[in-house]
């Protein structure tokens, strides 16, 4: 048992507590602490990526044997998500410190670290109820971050966001209760074995539970018709927080991938093709709604939020296909869309801070926006194009519907962003030279790093895909994962 597995959960939590206790009014100390944690998370994510390549690994909390205690499970997918969180949080932290967003409230860094703790925990846990607990942890931190800086609109959007997510949590508990009543366990590996051997009489109850759990993940992943919370929340949240939230929708996608391959696999008699049947139409509708939203909005943050919804549609379309090739493509697109959404939210925030001033029309910001829009719309040369191509290649069997939906949505996204760009940067506005140029070099550096990461994802698409293909194959054949959790002492 290797204690490295629990550190990404413990370290941010401990540091957040220390910050609240001892550095409440010392911003510089908070910044140093948060930066140290993010650096440590990056380092640990690198180590875990290497470890995960050797095969799945379990960490038994309190050394209780599975399934009686809670286990953390490391496999390629969770290591990948940890690395994504570490990289993204690094960019967000640079932006927040560079633009001074963290001065607008006392507890930004503590909440930020609690959020990282929840995210890392949700990606590592191998227990369904523990997943619920970590969901709540990352949500409660996100409530605080969402209303950071205050304002009437932001608070009202925050209330809606919290109410929606509380409803989701209740649904999650109903689903977990049903699953426990049917199978008598909540350990995911154990669930996989019990559901495979489920008596036919219990199949109906289990399917109800599966649909409830999928609904919860669909709320998190903003799938139509459960996407209502996203535009208001993301457009009203502070820019860097919206950028961090780009990974929150991916928690839903991660959970669907994990559950649809391990707990509710299509080859079990009780579930069958349930996940594909439900997700495919919802994903197509999400793709369409995202595209229409991108065309129909007049403010950049809302437009980016709708583009994020559209990208979730594409992602879930690939996840719903349920083949290893499609899952690998989905994972690649997941990495891309998280970084691209984050970059665009940061750019929107840079622009909002400069609105009205002479610096608003600076060519650099326009170039950044252009690069971000190219990535988001999935045009060459950035990784969106590669990701979209991979997804389309994996969906060859349903080419007519899926391909036309994806291509039309891309066209709409492209037109929407082109129109927004020309309205923002080419319209002859009276610039007020008296307004000061904001000191946001750190912010611009963060956006540049984000775009550089997208470029790196494009350049190294080959090795990344090779790694992801193995990850997807392991997901769809989870014998090693189940064996690693050593159920009832067996190995």
């Amino acid at each position: 048992m290797n204690h490295l597995l629990i550190l990404p959960v413990l370290l941010p939590g401990l540091m957040a507590g220390l910050i609240v206790a001892f550095a409440r009014n010392r911003l510089h100390l908070q910044r140093v602490a948060a930066a140290l944690v993010v650096l440590a998370l990056l380092f640990m994510a690198g180590l875990l990526l290497v470890r995960a390549a050797a095969g799945p690994e379990a960490y038994f909390l309190g050394n209780w044997p599975a399934p009686f205690g809670i286990v953390l499970m490391l496999d390629r997918l969770s290591a990948l998500m940890l690395a994504l969180v570490a990289v993204l949080s690094g960019f967000v932290l640079i932006y927040v410190i560079g633009t001074g967003w963290d001065q607008r409230g006392k507890h930004f860094h503590a909440l930020f670290l609690f959020q990282l703790m929840g995210l890392n925990g949700a990606f590592l846990t191998g227990d369904a109820f523990n997943l619920f607990v970590f969901f709540e942890l990352l949500l409660i931190a996100s409530y605080g971050l969402m209303i950071h800086g205050g304002g009437a609109d932001r608070l009202r959007a925050g209330v809606q966001y919290v109410a929606f997510n509380l409803l989701g949590s209740t649904l999650f508990l109903f689903g977990l209760g049903l699953i426990y009543a049917v199978t008598g366990t909540l350990n995911m590996a154990d669930l996989a074995e019990r559901i495979a051997a489920l008596p036919a009489g219990d199949a109906g109850l289990l399917r109800v539970a599966a649909v409830m759990i999928l609904l919860v993940f669909a709320i998190k992943g903003a799938l139509v018709p459960l996407q209502f919370w996203l535009p208001g929340t993301y457009a009203n949240a502070p820019g860097p927080v919206a950028a961090l939230f780009a990974v929150m929708t991916k928690v839903g996608a991660y959970a669907v991938i994990r559950f649809s391959t391990l707990v509710f696999p299509p080859d079990s008699a009780a579930i069958g093709s349930l996940v594909t049947d439900l997700l495919t139409p919802a994903a197509l509708a999400t793709l369409a709604l995202g595209a229409v939203g991108v065309l129909g909005t007049h403010s950049l943050p809302r437009q980016v939020a709708f583009a994020a919804i559209g990208s979730m549609g594409l992602l879930f379309l690939a996840v719903a296909a349920g083949t290893p090739a499609a899952t690998a493509a989905a994972l690649y697109y997941l990495l891309h869309s998280t970084l691209a959404t984050a970059a665009l939210f940061l750019i929107a925030d840079l622009l909002a801070a400069r609105r009205g001033g002479a610096a608003a029309h600076s060519g650099l910001i326009a170039a950044l926006f252009m690069a971000g829009a190219v990535a988001m719309a999935g045009m060459p040369p950035l990784s969106g194009f590669v990701g979209k191509l991979l997804v389309m290649d994996a969906l060859r069997s349903q080419a007519v519907l899926a391909w036309s939906a994806i291509l039309l949505a891309s066209l709409a996204t492209m037109i929407g962003f082109a129109r927004m760009g020309s309205a923002l940067f080419w319209s002859p506005q009276e610039a007020d030279p008296a307004l000061p140029i904001p000191q946001d070099r750190g912010g611009i550096a963060a956006v540049l790093l984000c775009l550089a990461a997208l470029a790196a994802l494009t350049v190294f698409a080959g090795p990344v895909m090779a790694w992801l293909t193995v990850a997807a194959e392991n997901l769809h054949a989870p014998t090693a994962y189940i064996a690693a959790s050593a159920l009832r002492g067996g190995t």
């Binding site: 109820f129 607990v133 709540e136 949500l139 409660i140 409530y143 209303i147 205050g150 304002g151 009437a152 609109d153 608070l155 009202r156 959007a157 925050g158 209330v159 809606q160 919290v162 109410a163 509380l166 409803l167 949590s169 209740t170 508990l173 109903f174 977990l176 209760g177 049903l178 426990y180 009543a181 535009p231 208001g232 457009a235 009203n236 403010s299 943050p301 809302r302």
Partner: protein, 111 residues
């Protein structure tokens, strides 16, 4: 006993959903609380009803009741309590700064 508890869960869920659909924050919060009571009871009976039995294997008792749902309910109660407190605070903040208790957003509110 089963019918009574099932009816209680059903009633609370129905009431909770009805209140969730209202336009003001206060009924929505009450509705969410009702829903969380319903789910707590539901989780509790997920381990089957076994009245009067200890939650541990004992030689003197005739059987035992499943202790795990009780632990789950405890966790769920703590979490929903904390979440409701956060929601009440935020709703109060929104009411005091915004001047009304509507829960819906204007579409132009994102400017």
């Amino acid at each position: 006993m089963e019918a009574l508890i099932a009816a209680a869960i059903g009633l609370m869920t129905a009431g909770g959903i009805y209140l969730m659909l209202r336009r003001r924050t206060f009924p929505v919060i009450i509705g969410l609380s009702l829903l969380s009571y319903a789910v707590n009871l539901f989780l509790f009976v997920a381990g089957r009803l076994a009245p009067g039995l200890p939650p541990i294997i004992s030689k003197t008792a005739a059987g035992y009741t499943d202790p795990l749902p009780q632990a789950l309910v405890l966790t769920a109660i703590v979490i929903s309590f904390g979440m409701t407190a956060v929601l009440v605070l935020m709703a109060l903040g929104a009411y005091l700064t915004g001047g009304d208790a509507r829960i819906d957003l204007d579409d132009g509110g994102a400017e």
